[in-house]
C-alpha cells in the first residue's frame, strides 16, 4: 500500500502560473485569501465591527481596511470581508465570537482574485464593465458588485491605478481572458 506522505493536498490556484502584461496594464492573479460573505441586521453592525476589529462600512460603494482585513459594502445588509496574508486570518472565528445573529459563509475557495494595475487598468476593466471608473465617481477604496462581460465580479479600487477583481473561480479563465483582451486596447 502506498504511503500517504502528507494529509494536506497541494493547493493549485485557478489561474496558477498566468501572468499577463500589456504595455500599460499588468494582470496578475492574487495570492489566496480568506473570504467571508457576511449578512447581518443594521443593529448588529457595531458588535460585528468590534469583533472583526474593522468598521463595517454602511454607505454604498465604500470599503474599510484594517490590519490586512478589508470589508466591502455589497448591499444594505451584505458585506464581503477579505482577510489577506498567510494562513488562517480567523474571520469566521471572529464572526462566531461576535455573539450576534448573522450569516457568515466562508467563500475563500469560491472566489479568486486578479490584480489589475497600471495606467490603463480602468480602461482594461471598462472593456467589459459599464461602471464609471473615473476617480471622481469611483475613488480609491470604492467597491461594488458589478458585471464584467458575462460574469459577475466584485471590484475594489486599491489605488489610483490599481484594482482588485474578485471573481468566482470557475469564471476566472473568462475574466482573465477578457481583461487581457481589454488591456491590449488600453493604449496610453
Amino acid at each position: 500500500m502506498a504511503e500517504v506522505s502528507s494529509s494536506k493536498a497541494a493547493r493549485t490556484l485557478a489561474l496558477s502560473g498566468i501572468r499577463g502584461r500589456a504595455a500599460s496594464v499588468s494582470i496578475i492573479p492574487a495570492a489566496p485569501a480568506e473570504r467571508v460573505s457576511l449578512r447581518a441586521r443594521p443593529e448588529d453592525v457595531t458588535a460585528l465591527s468590534s469583533a472583526l476589529e474593522l468598521e463595517l462600512p454602511t454607505k454604498p460603494k465604500t470599503s474599510a481596511t484594517n490590519n490586512m482585513r478589508t470589508a466591502l459594502w455589497l448591499g444594505p445588509d451584505e458585506w464581503l470581508v477579505i482577510g489577506d496574508g498567510e494562513g488562517e486570518s480567523g474571520l469566521m472565528a471572529a464572526c462566531a465570537a461576535s455573539g450576534v445573529l448573522c450569516s457568515a459563509v466562508d467563500v475563500s475557495h469560491r472566489n479568486t482574485a486578479i490584480w489589475v494595475e497600471g495606467a490603463g487598468a480602468a480602461a482594461a476593466i471598462n472593456a467589459g464593465c459599464p461602471l464609471d471608473l473615473s476617480l471622481k465617481a469611483f475613488p480609491v477604496g470604492a467597491c461594488t458588485r458589478t458585471i464584467f462581460g458575462k460574469v459577475e465580479i466584485v471590484l475594489l479600487r486599491t489605488g489610483e491605478e490599481s484594482f482588485r477583481v474578485e471573481v468566482w473561480r470557475s469564471f476566472s479563465d473568462y475574466a482573465y481572458a477578457l481583461l487581457a483582451e481589454g488591456a491590449l486596447d488600453a493604449t496610453f
Partner: protein, 113 residues
C-alpha cells in the same frame, strides 16, 4: 445604454446590472384558501399590461442584489422614478394616472375582417 437609479446604491447604474421582476404592488390575499378560482386566477395569473405609466419590481441583481419598485413608461421605456421595496405606490409628479387603454384583438382588428 439605459441608466437605472438604484434607491439602495443611491446612484444611476447600467441596465446590464438589473433584472425585471414583474408587476409591483400585488398583494397576496389574506385568506388565500377561501377565495374562488376566479379570484385566485386574477391574483396569480392576470396582469394589467398597462400602456403608459406602470409600476414594476426590478432587481439590482449584479449590484446590491436588492429588489425595488420602479415607475416606468411602457411607451417610451423611460424610468420615471424608483423607490425602495415596501413603500406604498408613489405618485409620479407631472404624470397622470395610467391611460386605461386595453387593446384587445376585437377592438383593434375586429372590424378588419
Amino acid at each position: 445604454m439605459l441608466l437605472i437609479h438604484c434607491p439602495y446604491c443611491e446612484e444611476d447604474r447600467s441596465e446590464l446590472e438589473f433584472r425585471w421582476a414583474g408587476e409591483a404592488h400585488i398583494a397576496r390575499p389574506d385568506a388565500i384558501a377561501d377565495i374562488t378560482d376566479e379570484e385566485f386566477a386574477e391574483y396569480f395569473f392576470l396582469r394589467n399590461n398597462e400602456k403608459g405609466l406602470t409600476y414594476e419590481r426590478w432587481r439590482h441583481i449584479h449590484g446590491c442584489g436588492r429588489f425595488f419598485n420602479a415607475a416606468r413608461d411602457t411607451v417610451s421605456d423611460r424610468f420615471l422614478m424608483t423607490y425602495k421595496a415596501g413603500l406604498p405606490k408613489q405618485p409620479v409628479p407631472g404624470v397622470s394616472a395610467t391611460e386605461k387603454t386595453v387593446e384587445t384583438y376585437e377592438q383593434t382588428e375586429g372590424d378588419a375582417r
